[in-house]
């Protein structure tokens, strides 16, 4: 167990609806990159694995990619295709 802050994962729209979660906390020691976090989440929530190719990850409210590194206290948002407007 790390004493540091977790990575806070934010879910919206279809992912929030189908996982029943709007927020998931991950141990920062277990997920050093966005890709690692998505893989870990996909194992628990199949819908996240299903959506992975359409998810644009955002770290601390800016678009990122699967290679982006995560550190303790980061916020990772799983942005499925947007449809505002």
């Amino acid at each position: 167990m790390s004493a540091s802050e977790p990575v806070r994962v934010r879910l919206f729209s279809v992912l929030k609806e189908r996982t029943g979660q709007s927020e998931i906390l991950l141990d920062a020691g277990d997920v050093d990159s966005v890709g690692a976090a998505l893989s870990a989440l996909g194992r628990t929530y199949p819908v996240i694995a299903d959506y992975r190719r359409w998810i644009r990850p955002a770290v601390n409210r800016a678009y990122a990619d699967e290679d982006t590194l995560l550190k303790s206290g980061d916020e990772l948002a799983l942005i499925t295709p947007v449809s505002g407007g």
């Binding site: 934010r10 919206f12 729209s13 279809v14 929030k16 609806e17 299903d50 959506y51 359409w54 955002a58 409210r61 800016a62 678009y63 948002a77 942005i79 499925t80 295709p81 947007v82 449809s83 505002g84 407007g85």
Partner: protein, 151 residues
């Protein structure tokens, strides 16, 4: 609930209340402006043969504000933008009501049209807001542009 950021040049908002297009238009007035272009997106009752009862919008509001500010800054690099405003409504938006309002003031009219078009086009691509169709037959559907169904 509403989130907003406002400076002298730009005003971004995400709110559950109906949008105030008059306030947005008033914000855009500027003594060096010759043209103000405003786009208002409204809930359309009918698309093809499908009847929409209402739309429900969900936003990642804090990031949506960041993205809208980023788009306003990008427009200001490409056109001589004097004022820009981007407002999005969340929650239920009934037919004929506004879900989004975007406006730009520039010295000359051609630029105001181009910059406004740019802002609404990009908003629909990058601002984290999602729309759920509530159809007249009771069914619902998240709108997910570009996602094919073999998930």
């Amino acid at each position: 609930m509403s989130h907003e950021r406002k400076t002298e040049e730009e005003w971004v908002r995400v709110q559950e209340r109906p949008l105030d297009v008059s306030a947005l238009e008033a914000f855009l007035r500027h003594p060096r402006a010759g043209g103000v272009c405003v786009f208002v997106g409204t809930t359309r009752a009918v698309t093809g043969s499908v009847v929409t009862e209402e739309l429900r919008y969900e936003a990642f509001s804090e990031m949506a504000l960041d993205e809208m500010k980023r788009l306003a800054a990008e427009a200001s690099v490409r056109w001589p933008v004097l004022r820009a405003a981007l407002h999005h409504r969340t929650g239920v938006v009934p037919v004929a009501e506004a879900s989004v309002a975007v406006g730009v003031a520039t010295p000359h009219r051609a630029d105001s049209f181009e910059a406004c078009r740019f802002l609404i086009d990009r908003l629909k691509e990058t601002v984290p807001v999602w729309k759920k169709e509530i159809y007249a037959d009771g069914s619902t559907e998240w709108v997910e542009p570009g996602k094919t169904d073999q998930g």
